[in-house]
């Protein structure tokens, strides 16, 4: 009988947690590296339209133009769709200055290959987008990309 008793008394050894900090640090570094802190605070609503015939955006050579109705917390700016570049609302006539400012922040060798990324809320009128495009043509910034979310509007 003593043979059986002996087995029972053997407790499981405690699992060493000494390597736990290492694992956590590894995860931490991963997230620190992939994190992109938002550089501009969104002032407008952004529900992007869906599209599936898309190309990837080259982030290092693009400047962003946001447009849409003023978002939550910014209702005092009215209900009409507005354009946002950088951190503030911009008028159509002021786009050129705001874009020039953004363009100078890019790497010098890429400044000639600028791509304009339009992030426009799906409820905006096309008229506003046309005004922006007209302005871009005047500025000779001819490459643009309409940012979309994955999906297809036919599937709704």
């Amino acid at each position: 009988m003593s043979k059986f008793n002996k087995k029972k008394s053997g407790d499981l050894p405690a699992i060493s947690t000494a390597s736990l900090p290492d694992i956590v640090f590894m995860l931490l570094f991963f997230f620190m590296v992939v994190t992109v802190l938002r550089d501009s605070n969104l002032l407008v609503q952004q529900k992007l339209p869906k599209g599936d015939q898309v190309e990837k955006l080259k982030k290092d050579r693009s400047v962003f133009i946001y447009a849409g109705k003023p978002g939550a917390g910014y209702e005092k700016f009215g209900k009409e769709a507005k354009i946002q570049i950088g951190d503030k609302f911009t008028d159509v006539s002021n786009i050129r200055f705001a874009l020039e400012e953004l363009r100078r922040k890019l790497r010098p060798e890429l400044q000639d290959k600028v791509m304009v990324a339009l992030k426009v809320d799906e409820e905006t009128n096309t008229g506003l987008v046309t005004d922006v495009k007209q302005e871009l043509r005047d500025l000779n910034l001819l490459k643009l990309i309409y940012i979309t979310t994955p999906g297809n509007q036919l599937e709704e």
Binding site: M32, T35, N125, L142
Partner: protein, 208 residues
């Protein structure tokens, strides 16, 4: 002067601190992967070029009104039928065989009423200023899809590799060096074969 040994620092709370930081970064992370429909705007001309005359049969007109309704070639249409209609139009190949414009690879109906060949075919989109951006993108998406369908088909026939897949491989940087140049050339060849000719008329004033 016996030097007192410094007591060992307790590292037990290190995991807690690391966890705190980890959770902070977890919450603030937005892994952005923006994708979209790329487009090239026509350059601004100083002097107005002479009007280029495009034959009516080579023109495919898509109208979107302020209520987001579609008018394709003067007929009301649904968004879901737009892609096929555009494919039929581009792929028609109406030029008679033997003429210099004859399209050897087209698989369309070869109706003399529709486009001569993909190079001649122009799709013109007209928006109202009050058209919603959602609809605008949906229409653009369908038209690009039509072009991509045909480019895929021709690329598959010529090189055994779909156009969109080739393009994706280049974009993602999977292929580099001499092979990438080779693929760029093939992409260009397909683009020349079926050029994307999407024209956008200046939108009409609302309500008209």
């Amino acid at each position: 002067m016996a030097r007192r040994a410094t007591p060992e620092v307790n590292a037990g709370s290190m995991a807690d601190i690391a966890f705190l930081l980890l959770i902070f970064f977890l919450v603030t992370t937005t892994i952005e992967k923006d994708k979209g429909i790329a487009r090239q705007l026509p350059p601004k001309m100083e002097d107005q070029p002479e009007d280029v005359i495009i034959k009516q049969k080579n023109l495919f007109i898509v109208n979107v009104n302020k209520n987001d309704q579609l008018l394709v070639e003067e007929e009301l249409a649904e968004l879901k039928d737009l892609r096929q209609a555009a494919i039929d139009f581009i792929d028609n190949g109406g030029a008679p065989s033997g003429s210099p414009e004859y399209c050897s690879f087209c698989k369309g109906k070869r109706s003399p009423e529709s486009s001569d060949n993909p190079e001649k075919a122009v799709i013109s989109v007209q928006n109202d200023r009050l058209t919603s951006y959602k609809m605008y993108i949906a229409v653009q998406n369908e038209l690009v899809a039509a072009y991509n369908f045909l480019r895929d088909r021709e690329s598959q026939r010529l090189y055994g590799w779909k156009y969109t897949e080739m393009k994706k491989a280049i974009d993602e940087g999977d292929i580099t060096g001499a092979k990438a140049d080779d693929i760029q050339e093939k992409l260009q060849a397909v683009q020349d074969l079926i050029p994307l000719k999407l024209s956008e008329a200046e939108p009409k004033k609302s309500g008209s």
